[in-house]
Amino acid sequence: MSTLTYTVADSTTMLRRNLRRLARYPSMTLLLVGMPIVFMLLFVYVFGGQLSAGLGRALAAGHAGRAGYLNYVAPGILLMTTAAAVQGTAIVVAMDMTGGIIDRFRTMAIARASVLTGHVLASVIQTFISLAVVLGVAIALGFRPTANLAHWLAAIGVLLLFTLALIWLATALGLAAKSVETASNTPMFLTLLPFLSSAFVPTATMPAGLRQFATYQPFTPVTETLRGLLTGTPIATNLIEAIAWSLGIAIASFLWATHLYDRRHAR
């Protein structure tokens, strides 16, 4: 077998292991998928009626009221789902790195990349299951995407790229953490970022300072792109910005994570 076949075989083995671990420890996944659902219910049913009145032009054509706000906020809730799910990535990576089994892997002639790729692939699957659940709940509540097949594929592509970026970031945070407790806290800022973006209200309504931050942070262009693809609002340059942010975060985090992985236990 060639190096590549070994890498694929070992990564598949590690993926299988991580999926099995996730299945044995379902409470974490359930907790992380519950959070965006609770925020969606809160924002749609508590604030939604009032918020939609002020949104006006920001709502997609033909949308109004509570249902209109649900259609406005659902794409942002999907991104929040990703942000919450990757907290689990940081936790399981830290669990692995602080446990004894990582030393066993390191003394075996296995493809070096497989430990991290196994975690990343398992997290992608876990996150997309969470996304499917949250999307299902949103549709049950009345979310009505207008996307055609091409739009759906593009939306899945944007979500996948952004998910990969956040997963690699969470992997790096999990590797950098000295303990599992730290690893469960450091990625929490990711779940706050949607609130400081155009996910819940347009950035134009925010005070100066916060508005600039909200406009130029990654969650806003990704939210706008996803909202455009799913509900038909204008996308403009947001797609390019979303792809640039996602690739940038993914590449930087990948390099950081592999650096930490190689350096860790070097003492």
């Binding site: 292991r17 099995r20 671990r21 089994i101 030393d103 390191r106 003394t107 236990h265 003492r267």
Partner: protein
């Protein structure tokens, strides 16, 4: 009997001039090691002596600052994957996946060794039987006892049939039965031609298992040889006589010239070679002096004695290993 060939026996581990520091703390000084193929080598030393650091260097987990190290014919620095393909490591801390079952842990190892489906399944079943884990095979490891975890840990190390095995304090924390099971497993491995490098804090363990022993003190090898070589350097055992009154201690001390007094603990310590005659001699002298009311205990040589003999100072725990 193997035919004796001329020249040195092939070495499974050869290390020369190994140094290692963590920051400004020097942990290993010029360590040399030579472990013959198919032998058991015991590295004996107290906590903090650097035993685990040596295992981590030899098993490619960390790099030495300097020194030339060959394991299973491969250079640790230049061909770590060559080393990894030939070794198995059971560390001090359990390296099992708690969320998986025992069988799944072993299957994971079989898959990572690319044994293939049928051969992997066969090897897993065989190891589950061999290590008396067949009944618990489908239970999650989190429900295993300490001894079972240790056995699973070693079984996982053996899935890939390694030629050189590192065992870092394999019996620390085990009960006597668990310890004897582990010893039997280690002896069986050697019988199969595997080279074993084990670390231990117990002279008895090294004595029972190892063909050669090296004593590690504060990062230096201070003695090396067969168990008999080492024990020859130890002044044998001791007899302790404990008294309840200082007058009795002094009377006994006058009767036994070779005794060392410990006034504080009202204790007399005598060198003892393990013979009945020597013991009778001590008792006779005590009778002659009319000393009664002493408590007598006999101590066989332990790590402390070997240490004292080869280093001139008792075992002291350095800063505990991380």
């Amino acid at each position: 009997m193997e035919p004796h060939v001329s020249g040195p026996a092939p070495l499974a581990i050869a290390a020369a001039g190994v140094n290692k520091s963590f920051g400004r703390t020097s942990v290993l000084h010029n360590v040399d090691l030579a472990v013959g193929e198919g032998t058991i080598f015991g590295l004996l030393g107290p906590n903090g002596a650097g035993k685990t650091t040596i295992v981590r260097i030899l098993s490619t987990l960390i790099a030495a600052d300097s020194g030339d190290i060959q394991v299973a014919g491969c250079n640790v620095a230049r061909d770590p994957d060559g080393v990894r393909a030939a070794i198995g490591v059971t560390g001090q801390f359990s390296a099992v996946d708690d969320l998986l079952t025992g069988e799944e842990n072993l299957r994971l190892m079989a898959d990572l060794h690319h044994l293939g489906r049928a051969a992997g399944r066969l090897r897993v079943t065989q190891l589950l039987d061999e290590f008396e884990l067949a009944e618990a095979a489908r239970k999650p490891v989190s429900a295993y006892s300490g001894g079972m975890r240790r056995r699973l840990d070693l079984a996982m190390t053996l899935v890939g049939s390694p030629r050189v095995i590192f065992l870092d304090e394999p019996t620390t924390g085990l009960d006597p039965r668990g310890r004897h099971t582990m010893w039997a497993a280690i002896r069986q491995l050697r019988a199969g031609g595997v080279t074993i490098f084990l670390t231990t804090q117990y002279l008895e363990e090294a004595d029972q298992l190892a063909d050669r022993i090296a004593v590690l003190d504060r990062g230096r090898i201070v003695a090396e040889g067969t168990p008999d070589d080492l024990k020859r350097q130890v002044p044998g055992g001791r007899i302790h006589l404990r008294f309840v009154e200082p007058e009795l201690l002094h009377a006994a001390g006058r009767a036994l010239e070779t005794a060392v007094h410990d006034e504080e603990d009202l204790l007399l310590v005598l060198p003892y070679d393990g013979t009945v005659a020597a013991l009778r001699h001590v008792l006779d002298r005590l009778d002659d002096a009319g000393v009664e009311g002493a408590q007598l205990s006999v101590h066989t040589p332990d790590l402390d004695d070997v240490f004292f003999a080869v280093t001139g100072h008792p075992t002291t725990e350095a800063t505990p290993a991380p």
